[in-house]
Symmetry: C2
Subunit: 162 residues, 2 copies
């Protein structure tokens, strides 16, 4: 597509290896930054006996109301077996309940129980504040720029896999 890549029999090894080195460095830094920020989130929710994935389910239901399990799965990005397991656990903790779906009897809703709703009202704001604190080494403008770059990168990488 771009003029730089139209020919393949005359390569420029030096430029190629500079590109490779840049990409590899980015890969490492991206993984570490994500891990570091996730650890902040994880430490925070662990104080309430929750994992990040459990919290992500609660957060989706908190902000969007009852969702079909498949919808939750798409938000949380976990396998189908994983979402069953997650909702089982949250049901065991009394924070979430399954409800029937009239229109499609294969499907089930997940919904916050009253206890789940109460818990989220209490712990979501400080959790959000902790995420904000973790990001606060960057200015708002930098955070927006970073978000834009990561969105481009993420959707391009996603589309490579299907």
């Amino acid at each position: 597509m771009s003029p730089d890549t139209r020919s393949s029999d005359r390569r420029r090894p030096a430029a190629d290896s500079a590109e490779t080195a840049t990409a590899l460095k980015l890969f490492v830094v991206l993984s570490r930054a994500a891990t570091a920020v996730q650890r902040q989130a994880s430490d925070d929710v662990a104080r309430h006996g929750l994992t990040i994935s459990e919290f992500a389910v609660l957060e989706a239901l908190f902000h969007k109301g009852p969702l079909l399990l498949g919808e939750v799965q798409r938000v949380v990005l976990v396998s189908s077996g994983g979402i069953t397991f997650l909702v089982d656990r949250l049901e065991g903790k009394g924070l979430v309940e399954r409800r029937e779906c009239q229109e499609d009897r294969r499907a089930r809703y997940a919904a916050l129980t009253r206890a789940g709703e109460t818990l989220m009202r209490r712990i979501f704001p400080p959790h959000a504040a902790r995420i904000r604190a973790a990001m606060s080494a960057l200015t708002l403008a930098q955070q927006r720029e970073l978000t834009a770059l990561l969105r481009t990168l993420g959707s391009a990488a996603d589309s490579l896999s299907g």
Copy 2:
């Protein structure tokens, strides 16, 4: 420190919530981008029967030579039990071997075997090319900028945990 945060009794809720929303969005986009890129890497090394973590160990030894297990652990960022398990597996595959350390008999080196060296010579270049492809939605300049922002973010978030 900064002029905006010197006072705590007069807040600006609107600005606070804009900051929170930006930070939360960044958190989601960061996690997804990292997952998407890691999936590319993972799919690539899976063709050779390796996990990302196994490949990371091989790569460290390939580029730096024999390393103490603790040093490998710091590079790959897994628990102490995890590094033992990883090196066990790679030893089982004949790609890595443990060696004694004269100066400190508690410690052990991990080193590539000849088979490990051969394998890495063969699979590292196409792996690097795949990472480069996954990043190629961004220009080189954007990749460098992204790296700089992520480095800032990552080390700040790290220092919050100790």
